[in-house]
């Protein structure tokens, strides 16, 4: 393998080539060929990423930035187009290209009947390209390029079925919400630039640690908070999370790839990347933890009464992202990354499983019309079950290990946060089991036509499901607690990228972990029985009253935003347009003209046509001039 990391530009290059081929010839390209090009491009990237990953693992590796060309240079202000390959980015490379590849394969089947399939693969490749830029960049500008680029792809893919205005509205909402975050990110970048005169990670972090830096702590906090605002937008945290559930308008594989596994974790990546900064900004770190916790709780409550299969998963994603931020907020960076990884496995799995269900149901997404699909879709059912178990934290699944670690870290940090987070984790199990029961157990509630068409999905769909299910099961073993005979592989690996790990493994934690383990098993059992009783039913209407209705309507957050921001904004714009612009400023401008015209109309009357009068006026004028000259001009 040798110096594969020197060729890191090949990793984003292939998706870019795939995008260019598919994007330029999308009209003439046969569908299958487009799919193959898309998949192969990602596969090659994945293989190279794997090689890079292995190379980075070796202790002899140095993570020097690899400069491709000058991007912006203006005197001292220099931003190269450079890539950074280290433990963190190589791990993300694997997640992105690996899961990306599976989802591409899945899409070849899922999107096969869509006329825009080639275009779809072009977008998907473009997304992978930007996502790779995001994680590979050796400075914040390259990250920002990827950051906005993935937002663009998300916008394009959410609104992929552009004939439906609701879908394009959702895309627009996602883009604009992201832009709000991006503004925060941009301000953060400019603050860094202003205070440290660099945006390169290496130089920036070196300057942070150098004793000469005379920047006050409040500046660190401000920078960290601004960057976190960017993360709020991209990773769908309170208060900028509302776009993510709406983003489910896009094709399901897109939801799996972009809105669950990769793009939304960009915020976590960014904070982990900037851990040196956040360590110096305790206030910002507290904010991250708090926002993460609130998001985890709020989204979990919202997920409880959703009837759209993808919406449940979307709120679950928001909630899990909250967990990840909570982990970061308490300083457990590697744990956050770990949860990103495991979440990528099981959430992609769940989404793809949901896609398989939707596929089988002929586009139906309402879980009140499903039920009892277990027998008709056995592979989907089993893989989905594994996903549900993993996200609920069933012992020894990947989700258990990572969430366990998060809870442990939070417990060390703040007891109150721990209880709230544990409550959110319980809610997670509840809504996920509810989903499972409603979809796969009980009796079928759809139309006969749908029942007739129910079938297991083809291999291109089930293959990724099975692979992801395996990873969801065993993915946690890279970081299994010592108590269960595990080893901190991930922590050690990430230490190569100077990311501090959360390691507290002693007798007292072992005790706590045992308690947690026991509680989890018991809790899950109760939840399983409870939800089975409540939701594995023949009839389910899905109408809620009282407080449940508030939850089903997502605490009316969208409506509140609409009433407090969107409408006033529109009203103000209208006032500006109709009143300030037309009557005000233009009125003044036209008023000047009108005054002159009016004055001219009046003065015109002096032009009586009587020559004598003219002479008279002339004489009068001369007399006045002379008189004036007497008194003033001497």
């Amino acid at each position: 393998m040798g110096n594969l990391s020197q060729l890191v530009y090949l990793v984003p290059l292939f998706p870019l080539i795939g995008f260019l081929i598919n994007g330029l010839f999308w009209k003439r390209m046969p569908k299958n060929l487009g799919g193959i090009i898309g998949c192969v491009a990602i596969l090659i990237s994945f293989v190279i990423s794997l090689g890079i990953f292995l190379e980075v693992k070796s202790p002899a590796y140095h993570d020097e930035p690899k400069i491709l060309f000058d991007f912006i240079r203006s005197g001292d202000f220099y931003i190269p187009f450079a890539f950074q390959v280290d433990a963190l980015s190589s791990l993300f490379l694997l997640i992105i290209t690996g899961i990306g590849f599976l989802i591409h394969v899945y899409s070849t089947s899922y999107m096969h009947h869509d006329e825009g399939m080639v275009k779809y693969f072009a977008y998907l490749n473009l997304f992978v390209f930007f996502m790779l830029l995001l994680v590979l960049g050796a400075n914040y500008v390259i990250m920002f390029i990827g950051w906005e680029g993935v937002g663009l792809c998300s916008y394009l893919l959410i609104g992929f079925w552009f004939k439906n205005r609701d879908y394009t509205n959702a895309g627009k909402k996602a883009f604009i919400m992201n832009r709000i975050g991006d503004l925060g990110f941009l301000v953060g970048l400019l603050l860094i630039l202003f205070n440290f005169h660099t945006l390169s990670y290496h130089e920036f972090f070196d300057k942070l640690h150098s004793p000469q830096s005379v920047v006050p702590t409040s500046t660190y906090n401000w920078i960290a908070i601004c960057l976190f605002i960017g993360a709020m937008g991209k990773s769908a945290q309170v208060p900028l999370y509302t776009w993510l559930p709406d983003a489910m308008a896009g094709p399901t594989p897109v939801s799996a790839l972009i809105h669950a596994a990769t793009m939304v974790t960009a915020g976590i990546y960014m904070i982990v990347r900037s851990n040196a900064l956040y360590d110096l900004a305790p206030m910002a770190l507290n904010l991250v933890a708090t926002v993460g916790l609130i998001t985890a709780l709020l989204a979990a409550t919202m997920a409880l009464y959703q009837n759209d299969i993808k919406k449940v998963l979307a709120y679950s994603t928001v909630s899990q992202l909250g967990f990840m931020f909570l982990a970061l907020g308490v300083g457990a960076y590697t744990t956050g990354v770990f949860h990103v990884m495991t979440h990528a496995f099981f959430k992609a799995l769940l989404f793809l499983g949901a896609g398989s269900v939707i596929h089988a149901m002929g586009g139906e997404q309402d879980i009140t019309r499903m039920g009892g699909l277990r027998k008709k879709l056995p592979i989907t059912y089993f893989t989905f079950l594994i996903g549900v178990l993993a996200i609920s934290g069933f012992p020894f699944t990947s989700g258990f290990v990572s969430k366990d670690e998060i809870l442990m870290a939070v417990y060390e940090h703040n007891k109150l946060y721990f209880y709230l987070a544990a409550f959110a984790a319980i809610l997670t199990a509840v809504y996920m089991f509810r989903l499972l029961m409603l979809v796969f157990m009980g009796g079928f509630r759809g139309t006969e036509d749908q029942e007739h068409h129910l079938h297991e999905s083809p291999a291109a769909i089930t293959f990724p499901l099975i692979v992801l299910a395996i990873f969801s099961l065993v993915g946690g073993f890279v970081q299994l607690p010592h108590l269960f005979g595990g080893h901190d592989f991930l922590n050690e690996f990430l230490a190569g990228a100077k990311i501090p790990a959360f390691v507290h493994e002693d007798a007292s934690t072992a005790m706590k972990e045992m308690t947690l383990f026991g509680a989890t098993v018991v809790g899950l059992l109760i939840i399983f029985i409870g939800t089975r009783k409540a939701f594995a039913v023949k009839q389910f209407d899905g109408n809620y009253t009282g407080f449940r209705k508030v939850l089903a309507n997502k605490w009316y957050v969208d409506e509140i935003y609409d009433a407090t921001i969107v409408r006033p904004m529109e009203a103000m714009s209208n006032v500006l347009d109709k009143f300030a612009e037309k009557k005000g400023i233009d009125g003044i401008v036209n008023g000047v003209g009108k005054t002159v015209k009016w004055g001219g109309d009046r003065l015109r009357l002096l032009q009586s046509g009587q020559v004598g009068f003219y002479i008279f006026i002339m004489v009068l004028g001369i007399v006045m001039l002379f008189t004036l000259s007497f008194f003033w001009i001497k």
Partner: protein, 181 residues
């Protein structure tokens, strides 16, 4: 009070008197006659200042040609009778007052002007030879251009004065005109 001064006062009095006659006499023909008188007085002044060429030209061109033209027109239109409609008393008063005020104001402003005495010995500058020299050297271009001006004025006068043959004043125009009469 030498002869120059005496002549100045006499000529001045004559000029002003004739000028008043121009504006006060009812009959246009008398006005013309008074104006010719004024011009003669001014020519007298010119001679007094030894501007002989201008004095002659003034008499020939103004008193001779131009005023004859006026007279000719007046005769042609049969305006010699005292038929001119008079302006209202008020307007006339306003005219007199404004003219008077103008006079007074300018008078007041030039009253303090530096007084230059006049060299009463005869000088050569007004002689035709000297003027000719200047005219045909420095001012030869304006001089030639003035000939073009004359030509154009002549053509203009002919064109304007020509009786329109085909287009006569329409009935409407005529009635409209009559309203003012």
């Amino acid at each position: 009070m030498d002869i120059y001064d005496i002549l100045f006062w006499i000529l001045s009095a004559f000029a002003v008197g004739c000028a008043l006659g121009v504006i006060l006499s009812r009959n246009p023909v008398n006005s013309v006659m008074f104006l010719i008188g004024t011009f003669f007085a001014i020519s007298g002044h010119y001679i007094l200042m030894n501007a002989q060429f201008l004095a002659i030209v003034n008499i020939i061109v103004y008193a001779g040609a131009i005023m004859v033209l006026f007279l000719f027109v007046i005769m042609l239109m049969n305006l010699n009778a005292d038929v001119e409609p008079q302006k209202g008393q008020l307007v006339q008063l306003a005219g007199v007052i404004s003219g008077g005020v103008l006079f007074l104001v300018i008078l007041a402003s030039i009253k303090t002007a530096k007084t230059e005495s006049i060299d009463k010995t005869s000088t050569d500058i007004g002689l035709i030879a000297d003027l000719g020299k200047v005219l045909f050297t420095r001012y030869v271009l304006p001089f030639e251009i003035s000939s073009v001006l004359f030509l154009s004025a002549m053509i203009g006068a002919v064109v304007i004065g020509k009786k329109e043959e085909t287009k006569s004043v329409s009935k409407e125009d005529e009635s409209e005109m009559k309203q003012f009469l």
